[in-house]
């Protein structure tokens, strides 16, 4: 059984819906990951030893929570978060519901990426800003975020691609999206056309995101 073009055209509306659902899920969870993960990443960095908000307690606490969430396999997180999902979205199936678990998984992932990107900055530049009398907020905004801009953009690319992988997994519990389609039609019904089409879409999506992400990261870098 190979690729049946007629069958593919027939299922095009379904593929289209699934594709949009995937975009919807990863957009929401990426937005949440950036909005929540970025401050956590910054906090992880500036509370570290020798930095201007050095705070051992906050550092270890935050680090522990981040590691904890990251150590839970996504598939288990998906199930464990059902009560939370129900409380927030009202249902436990569909792309909106899947976005909750995806966001929770993406936040600590992105936070660590931000922290790593910030560590790349020469400490001397931060010190020079302190010597110039800059406020902590100025240092975060004009030094840390600006100098790590390129690394953070690469981190967003990385997070986005991981989210595509996770979103496919969310399909197994009825999350919707391309992954859901692949499992329901491609796997359970041995529909090779759908299988090939969905995999192809995912491959193209990942390639496009990676190329675009690399391009943007390079263009914004003034080094």
């Amino acid at each position: 059984m190979g690729f049946d073009f007629g069958h593919f055209v027939e299922l095009l509306p379904d593929i289209n819906t699934a594709f949009l659902q995937t975009i919807y899920m990863i957009s929401i969870s990426l937005a949440v990951a950036v909005i929540v993960g970025l401050p956590i990443g910054i906090l992880l960095y500036i509370t570290d030893k020798g930095l201007f908000w050095e705070n051992q307690a906050v550092q270890s606490m935050l680090g522990f929570i981040v590691n904890l969430v990251r150590s839970i396999p996504f598939i288990i997180l998906l199930v464990a978060l059902i009560p939370l999902t129900k409380a927030i979205v009202g249902t436990q199936i569909g792309p909106a519901a899947a976005s909750v678990s995806l966001s929770v998984a993406a936040i600590p992932f992105f936070a660590r990426i931000v922290e790593t990107a910030l560590r790349e900055i020469d400490k001397g530049v931060i010190e020079a800003a302190i010597a110039a009398g800059a406020t902590p907020w100025m240092i975060i905004k004009d030094v840390l975020l600006l100098e790590a801009k390129s690394g953070i953009i690469s981190g967003i690319t990385l997070t986005l691609i991981s989210l595509i992988g996770f979103s496919a997994m969310a399909g197994t519990v009825g999350g919707g999206g391309i992954g859901d389609l692949a499992i329901r039609f491609g796997y359970y019904r041995y529909d090779n056309t759908i299988m090939i089409a969905t995999v192809l879409i995912l491959v193209i999506l990942v390639q496009v995101i990676q190329i675009l992400g690399d391009f943007i990261a390079k263009v914004v870098d003034k080094r």
Partner: protein
């Protein structure tokens, strides 16, 4: 008047191997408007001392006042405001690579809450002063080392500081660029009356622009005074070593061994016409002089003449001749008695 007063300042670092005295009970007074050099080998504590002045490092004990304000008691916002009046430049410049030259300088003005409109004029003026008006919208990666340091200087001077701290500011630059940066620092010192404290391991830098200096070793100041005086009569071995790195009066062993008469080093300070005194001496006494080394160094535009010569003649005559030279305000040091 005193601009920076350092009293019994110590900085102890806690490491795995125990406590290390970065700065060990240092007391210094740096006058308003002078250029003060702190010299030492790496690890001597000069960098720690400098970083204590704007509290990038918090001293473990001791007191420190800058323009009459005790900085060691300040924290948070008051400390930040105090730092606006203390500029600092670094060996590796530390500009924000993602900001243009203009934005880098404006950053310091933003810290002082200078309104956006005034920033534009102020940056233009600063760029003019450091000679980089045409590089306004360029990113640091497109600048040479010397140009980066000029931007860093403009940033450090943005808020009209009273003090400029220079942390090995010329150590990453080639000799020609070093010279131009030193000239710029001198100009800033003279025109803006800014007190400059610089640390360096290059004695040349100190000789070029400093009025007074301190030599540090193992966290302590081992010698301190006017640069001219230290060059003319260094007291410690370390000072002699540093001076020898710029002006060396070593006589090759074989030459020294072949000398019959005593070897003497004669130092003329200030306006004394060195050669005149020596020729007078040689005329008045039955002594022959054989020059082995000699030069006149200009330190802060003051001549410092140092000559090494072998004196030949009767012992008594030589003694008289040396006495005569000393009477004419020169300093005589017998390096080696005759055979």
């Amino acid at each position: 008047m005193c601009m920076i007063e350092i009293q019994n300042l110590s900085k102890i670092y806690k490491t795995k191997k125990g406590e290390v005295n970065g700065v060990d009970n240092v007391s210094l007074s740096i006058e308003k408007g002078e250029i003060y050099g702190i010299v030492g080998y790496s690890g001597a504590g000069k960098s720690s001392l400098l970083r204590c002045i704007n509290l990038l490092e918090r001293p473990t004990s001791g007191h420190l006042t800058v323009d009459g304000v005790d900085l060691t008691v300040l924290r948070g916002e008051p400390l930040r405001l105090a730092r606006l009046k203390i500029g600092m430049i670094f060996q590796h410049f530390y500009l924000i690579s993602q900001k243009t030259v203009y934005e880098n300088i404006a950053f310091a003005l933003k810290a002082a809450k200078v309104p956006a409109k005034e920033r534009i004029d102020r940056v233009e003026k600063l760029l003019e002063m450091v000679g980089l008006s045409d590089k306004r919208d360029v990113y640091p990666s497109q600048l040479s080392g010397g140009q980066k340091q000029r931007v860093a200087i403009a940033r450090a001077l943005a808020n009209n500081p009273k003090v400029l701290l220079c942390d090995e500011a010329t150590s990453a630059l080639d000799p020609t660029t070093t010279k131009s940066i030193l000239n710029l620092l001198k100009k800033i010192n003279q025109e803006l009356k800014i007190t400059i404290v610089l640390i360096t391991h290059e004695m040349n830098v100190v000789k070029e622009i400093c009025n007074r200096m301190a030599i540090m070793q193992e966290g302590r100041v081992v010698e301190e005074g006017a640069v001219y005086n230290i060059f003319a009569s260094p007291k410690t071995e370390l000072a002699k070593e540093f001076i020898a790195s710029v002006v060396s009066y070593d006589i090759p062993e074989t030459i020294a061994n072949s000398c019959e008469g005593p070897l003497v080093k004669v130092t003329f300070r200030g306006k004394v016409a060195g050669e005149g005194v020596i020729s007078d001496t040689l005329q008045q006494y039955q002594v022959k002089g054989n020059f082995l080394h000699g030069s006149i160094e200009y330190i802060q535009d003051l001549p410092l003449g140092i000559f090494v010569m072998e004196l030949k003649g009767a012992k008594e005559e030589i003694k008289q001749a040396l006495k005569y030279i000393e009477e004419r305000d020169a300093q005589v040091e017998v390096l080696r008695d005759g055979v």
